[in-house]
Symmetry: C2
Subunit: 312 residues, 2 copies
């Protein structure tokens, strides 16, 4: 059994074709076929059902491939160990970011970061918290940027900054007359929410917890998948929605007029870097952290008198 053989088998499984798998491995089709066959003979197992078109992985093949992937991933990590130890700023960094942060936070530092460390291959995925947590546990991500605390046993959280919640309301909303809003000012029947799965949604609900307990939860309005959609709905219809501070910063000045802060203590969310307990790439992650902290408004760094809202 060789590493190359396992890579070939994984490629066949992925591409469902020997020829395409061969191409993806930069070898000819016979080479790959022979090696796959050899491995099958050594293990005394049929990995692929070649009678099916396209090629089907057998049940036992699937299990073996799953195990092989785990093993090869561990061996790949040897390179990370070396890069980290040598302080060489290179390698792959797989980053997961939640949708309510990614469009507002990433543009602030990404360009500078990839220019500064051109040898680093930054792979970014936008995922909801639940999926980031799963992928961190499955070692499919090196790092997550999400809202904490999570209380996950095997994950380590490093708080980055504290971002206030603000209220964005339609132009003709009576609350625009106030300078700051209080929780009681808000009528939850006018609130537009993100759909299930977003931590921001849970926090918005928690902020209005008192009212929600009283009223039926069924009265919540149409639920959207992105904050940008919510903003547009508020602009074109009636009502309000919550926004995180960073989302507000990129808005046109004219629209900012319809944003109101909360009275002290403002509700705030804690944004953290999250890694698995067995993480590598410490140096790389620290550089990313420094880069982020250098590019966000200074006042976000400290929580101050604001009040942390949890979501789990």
């Amino acid at each position: 059994m060789t590493i190359v053989q396992l890579e070939y088998v994984i490629a066949v499984d992925r591409h469902r074709s020997f020829a395409r798998a061969a191409k993806s491995c930069f070898v000819t089709q016979p080479t790959l076929s022979m090696q796959v066959k050899k491995l099958e003979e050594e293990l005394n197992v049929i990995l692929f059902d070649r009678s099916k078109k396209p090629v089907m992985t057998t049940d036992i093949g699937r299990k073996i491939i799953a195990q092989a992937k785990i093993g090869l991933r561990s061996l790949k990590k040897i390179e990370d160990v070396i890069n980290d130890e040598k302080d060489e700023i290179k390698g792959e960094l797989r980053l997961g970011v939640i949708p309510t942060l990614s469009p507002y936070l990433l543009p602030l530092f990404i360009t500078d970061f990839i220019q500064k460390y051109p040898q680093v291959n930054l792979v970014i995925e936008e995922l909801i918290s639940e999926h980031i947590i799963k992928k961190l546990n499955d070692d499919e991500l090196d790092l997550g940027i999400l809202v904490t605390p999570l209380n996950e046993k095997n994950l380590i959280e490093t708080p980055l900054f504290y971002e206030s919640f603000v209220v964005y309301m339609s132009t003709n909303h009576p609350l625009t007359k106030k300078v700051k809003v209080a929780f009681d000012d808000l009528n939850i029947n006018e609130m537009w929410l993100l759909k299930e799965g977003h931590c921001f949604r849970n926090q918005a609900i928690n902020i209005c917890a008192d009212q929600l307990l009283a009223e039926s939860k069924n009265q919540l309005k149409f639920e959207s998948g992105s904050l940008e959609t919510l903003k547009r709905i508020v602009e074109n219809q009636y009502g309000f929605t919550f926004l995180p501070e960073l989302a507000m910063m990129t808005m046109e000045e004219i629209k900012k007029k319809y944003i109101r802060q909360f009275k002290t203590p403002e509700p705030v969310r804690e944004v953290s870097l999250v890694v698995h307990r067995s993480f590598l790439k410490e140096r790389l992650i620290n550089l990313l952290k420094d880069e982020i902290l250098d590019h966000i408004p200074v006042h976000l760094r400290e929580k101050g008198e604001r009040k942390l809202v949890e979501w789990v």
Copy 2:
């Protein structure tokens, strides 16, 4: 990078000598030296300090080897996947057993098991619960036999049987006059205990919890490392100790006279097979389980009216 190269490197690290490592890998010393050198060149890393005698692994080498071991262990598991899937009764089964079970439980089924499945390489370690839990999490054991519940997130418990606690007392002890004992009959100043780390100790303390709260815990007597020692102390000095039911069964008839059961509900400990969430060798483990259940007294299988004592 090849699997063979990594095995060579691991062997050098273990044997602290290229020549001995080569022998253990069944190749000549130049072969091994060349492959190690090639790997060092490919990774651009010095793994061993050859100027030191014996050869020293470098700091970075140690980290790489640790990671390589993890990866190779995962790849080795491919064989387990196959054995399990094919229902082939072979392979290695690494079992950890706590000291208060191992001398009494293992003799009951071990001989039959290894005769029945000669292709299975059963490796047994006697360890306290804490170490078994760690080794299960680190994938250094396939299976543990210990006292549950543990409330460990990543471990799965399968109860095997329920074993009563009994009291073993010196020949001249007044309690020998009773047929059964009650918790209140026991004077904890006369109790001999296992030392820290044994779950059996914690359970013994929990059984006498009421008295212990009242008295100072400092008054506990000399603490021994094995139940056999405790038995001997009780025989030769004054006092009593707790024993698990199986430990009693192997005693001479004459000594059994100084054993007393508790009044209903008897205190009982739950003995379970414990595996990691990501366990393999399901079939093998099931066979071992059946073998154990076939060889223990039938009345242990059900808890009945007895009262479970926890220890964590």
